[in-house]
């Protein structure tokens, strides 16, 4: 099948592979260790999947914010996102 129209590049392909792998890992985890809700600082019950979603969505905005205010490379935003992910999984 011709996929030229999708204009694939290695960085975007790796990005999607990481997302897909994360989803696969989360699914396996959900089967092996069924998800349980917990209530954290947001005062809403969240499962592991919810926290992943909050992490991904928040990370997207962290990256956008980084691009908006700075010209420094995006690795900094990635580090901030990692810290954010830790906070979300630990306390949300």
């Amino acid at each position: 099948m011709e996929l030229n129209w999708m204009a694939w590049t290695w960085p975007t392909a790796i990005f999607f592979l990481v997302i897909a792998s994360t989803l696969v890992v989360m699914t396996v985890l959900a089967v092996k260790f069924p998800e349980r809700e917990k209530v954290g600082i947001l005062k809403i019950p969240t499962t592991r999947g919810d926290r992943l979603f909050i992490t991904l969505l928040g990370s997207a905005f962290i990256h956008l914010g980084w691009l908006l205010v700075s010209d420094i490379q995006l690795w900094g935003a990635l580090v901030v996102s990692a810290v954010y992910a830790f906070i979300v999984f630990r306390w949300v």
Binding site: W5, M6, A7, T12, F15, L57, L64, L67, L68
Partner: protein
């Protein structure tokens, strides 16, 4: 009926997954790919990195369009939600007039977006439109093609006319689900109309109202056809909302890279709001149960 748990049932979801993959996931992936590249046609792409995102995020054009979009959504929510509640409260609960009112309310919802746009585009014209000619005759200076305020008022009134019915119908459904016993209890306690509304009707409408707010926010935030038909984004760029700007960029200017970056930012904003609304809705559901 007894329910049983069988993970093989997940296979039944497969058709939906395939359809969504073809209609949403693959196009979205393509947009992501486009957003990091530049093209001049011929299916040739050049790596651009995060440049387009930076350009869009820092451009006044994007900020202005987003500001207009939020303002529009805010105005129509501020009008349609209270108005919808008031009309739903005024509608009869039983009797001959119920189907009549329901059909009357449903009518604007059945009209396609571009037709609504055309109706209002003509309706507001000074030369042949009933509204425009009437306002002109009574001495009101009204011209939605040249005056920003007139254009905004026309778009807001058009949206209110088109979509308040949705809020009305949702609220009406919420009101109909309140058992008579609640009203009887309120009457025995001597509750005023306001107290009945505040402590019986409003709490019972909580969930439908949230759905109404969510639907109206999403729709108004993505509005395209009606303003495009009525004002075309003008006068100047004064009614150029995000979607109109996006189409201009993608199709008018053929700037696929910046347009892709812009649509991803747009998508993320909508996703964020949807998640917030959904979370609040689920939370209220739990509290109620």
């Amino acid at each position: 009926m007894n329910k049983w748990s069988d993970n093989r049932a997940w296979w039944l979801v497969l058709p939906v997954v395939l359809i969504v993959a073809f209609s949403a996931v693959i196009p979205l992936m393509t947009v992501v790919n486009y957003s990091f590249q530049d093209t001049f046609g011929n299916n040739e792409f050049f790596w651009e990195g995060v440049g387009w995102f930076q350009e869009v995020l820092r451009s006044d054009r994007f900020h202005d369009a987003m500001g207009r979009q939020f303002l529009f959504s805010f105005i129509i929510l501020a009008i349609e939600i209270p108005l919808g509640i008031v009309i739903a409260l005024a509608m009869p609960r039983k009797g001959f007039w119920v189907p009549f009112c329901l059909i009357l309310m449903a009518l604007p919802l059945l009209i396609p977006w571009n037709v609504v746009g055309t109706i209002w585009q003509i309706f507001g014209r000074i030369d042949i439109g009933l509204l425009g000619a009437f306002l002109d005759n009574i001495g009101v200076e009204y011209n939605y093609t040249q005056n920003t305020l007139d254009a905004w008022v026309t778009l807001v009134v058009m949206d209110v006319w088109h979509w308040t019915s949705l809020v009305v119908l949702l609220c009406y459904a919420g009101l109909q689900s309140i058992p008579d016993a609640y009203y009887q209890a309120a009457r025995i306690d001597g509750a005023s109309k306001w107290a009945t509304f505040r402590y019986i009707q409003l709490p019972k409408m909580n969930r439908v109202l949230l759905i109404a707010v969510l639907l109206r926010f999403m729709d108004s935030f993505m509005i395209y056809t009606e303003p495009f038909v009525v004002t075309g984004g003008g006068p100047g760029n004064d009614t150029t909302f995000l979607s109109i700007d996006l189409v201009q960029m993608a199709i008018g200017q053929f700037d696929l890279g910046p347009a892709a970056a812009m649509s991803l930012i747009y998508f993320l904003i909508i996703l964020l709001f949807s998640w917030v609304f959904f979370t609040v809705m689920s939370y209220l559901d739990r509290v109620e149960n």
